[in-house]
Symmetry: C2
């Protein structure tokens, strides 16, 4: 049997089927020996739109059925919200500090028929005695992948920008702790639904880097004294005073929010060097630009590392 | 002619027709000698839904036409977004510091036919050399009213909570400067559109004051170190860890946001005592509770003071 969208040779090389099964989307990879991606697929079949065993099994079949039938012996690993309370099967959070071996040991394979022997990666929990607790699901696997691809990141600070940006401190390959910042979600909310969004004119072209840099500078220089809630209204006041063009307002806001994230992150996490960014290239570029204002110039940027993380876990379980 | 919803005696006592004409709504008062409210009306005829002279004139007629016909000599004063760039007629912002005399001197009466001789109060601008600029329209009139009703507030800090909460510093009746915080709008956005809103169960009853107090405490104790963007995600993590009931999540968020507002406001503005709150009673109550955690116990609370402010301006112009 020839695998759809994969050459026969590649199909033969496959060692693992990996899934990043989030709230809104499902991504599937056919992964070769060494963790390379032989084929990738995605569909808007996230945990937030699925309910019940049959719906999950059907989504899995839709994206990976042909791969499974061609190579029934391939292990099937998934990370992300599929393991949450509202996912297919809940896999409890694992406490920090945690490493690949501990994550692998807590993976759940107690799945119903139709799951093809799927194993789900647990999320991570960081619950300090005197602070706000925090959780992640999916990013722990991207972190493992980043370290698998770049062993020098075993002692590092990793930033995974996104809807819920994650800052993780690593030592000797253990995730010591992490902090989530709602930067991306807040940007989207303010852009789409707030009084600020109504000012914004989208040019569809390159970001207005001047406006972005000014937003970062406002956060770095005055963010703590003025507060985010005040500086957000400043986006409007700057526009009314014609000190910010409508075409730059969205990028100023982006810089302001990322700047506030960095003010906290740099103060609390940056002592652990090196620093690497993991995620969408265009978004990571914004962080690279913003970090320059904080005196951080040497930043590695990696695109999606989840397949390498799933491969790392499969090796840990001696499945691949 | 007998005025609708006002007794003949009250109509005779009227000295001013006052309007608070905001973005979303129009409020009208028939104001007696001394600034007392004889009659009040409102309609969802704010500047954001009106366009062109005829639409504004029609809204004015709808709310005050009978009052105007019964007493054509009454002056007509309006504050709020009606004087903005997108209002009926733009009245330029007045720079801080400013007092009642300066605001009265800058009021615009260059209106088209159908405006009944309406005069519009200018907004205020605070544009520091080294910080974010800020603007208000409407609140300057509420501030004048608060001082007219309570002369000891001529040297005070006033907080006007709301969608865009305003903190104003007053000395000898002059507004020295002010800062807007987007607290109310952010709460509404997060409640209605974010991942946090989906956790929240509305009981419709009394606020969960325990949850509210915990939100304030998180902001006061860890807000600067952890940052608002991180603590927002904490609302979710606390829920997942069953440390915050779904029925308390909205009040925790309310406390967290008001707490962040207070961390900045108390640090920068509170040296100017006394402190007074002006606005919706239930919302002001939240601020009174939150301020206790900051060691502030003696806070005056005033409901809408715009009519008294409009009366103060009419007196300044010798119109009443």
């Amino acid at each position: 049997m020839v695998m759809q969208d994969v050459t026969q040779d590649e199909g033969r090389d496959a060692a693992l089927i990996g899934l990043d099964w989030g709230s809104t989307g499902l991504r599937a990879w056919l992964i070769g020996a060494g963790g390379s991606v032989l084929s990738a697929r995605q569909a808007p079949l996230g945990a937030s739109v699925l309910s019940g065993d049959a719906a999950y099994a059907q989504a899995l079949e839709q994206l990976t059925g042909d791969w499974q039938r061609a190579r029934p012996e391939l292990p099937l690993l998934a990370c992300g919200m599929v393991g949450s309370q509202h996912g297919w099967r809940e896999v409890p959070y694992l406490n920090c500090p945690a490493d690949a071996a501990m994550l692998a040991a807590q993976m759940s394979s107690q799945m119903p028929a139709g799951a093809g022997g799927l194993r789900i990666v647990p999320g991570l929990l960081d619950e300090p005695h005197d602070g706000t607790p925090d959780v992640m699901r999916g990013e722990e696997t991207q972190i493992l992948g980043a370290v698998a691809l770049h062993p020098d990141l075993a002692d590092a600070t990793l930033i995974l920008p996104g809807t819920h940006s994650k800052w993780a401190r690593l030592r000797q390959g253990h995730v010591l702790g992490f902090a989530t910042q709602m930067t991306g979600e807040l940007f989207a909310l303010l852009r789409e639904h707030s009084v600020l969004g109504r000012l914004m004119v989208d040019t569809g072209g390159e970001p207005d880097w001047n406006a972005f840099d000014e937003g970062v500078a406002a956060a770095r220089e005055q963010g703590t004294a003025e507060g985010l809630l005040h500086q957000l209204f400043g986006v409007r006041a700057l526009g009314l005073r014609q000190r910010l063009p409508n075409t730059g307002a969205a990028d100023y806001l982006s810089g302001l929010l990322i700047g506030h994230e960095l003010v906290v992150g740099v103060a609390t996490l940056l002592p652990v060097q090196p620093l690497a960014l993991v995620g969408d290239a265009a978004l990571c570029h914004r962080y690279v630009e913003a970090l320059k204002q904080f005196g951080v110039h040497d930043v590695k940027t990696l695109e999606n590392t989840a397949p390498a993380g799933l491969w790392r876990l499969a090796r840990e379980l001696a499945l691949a």
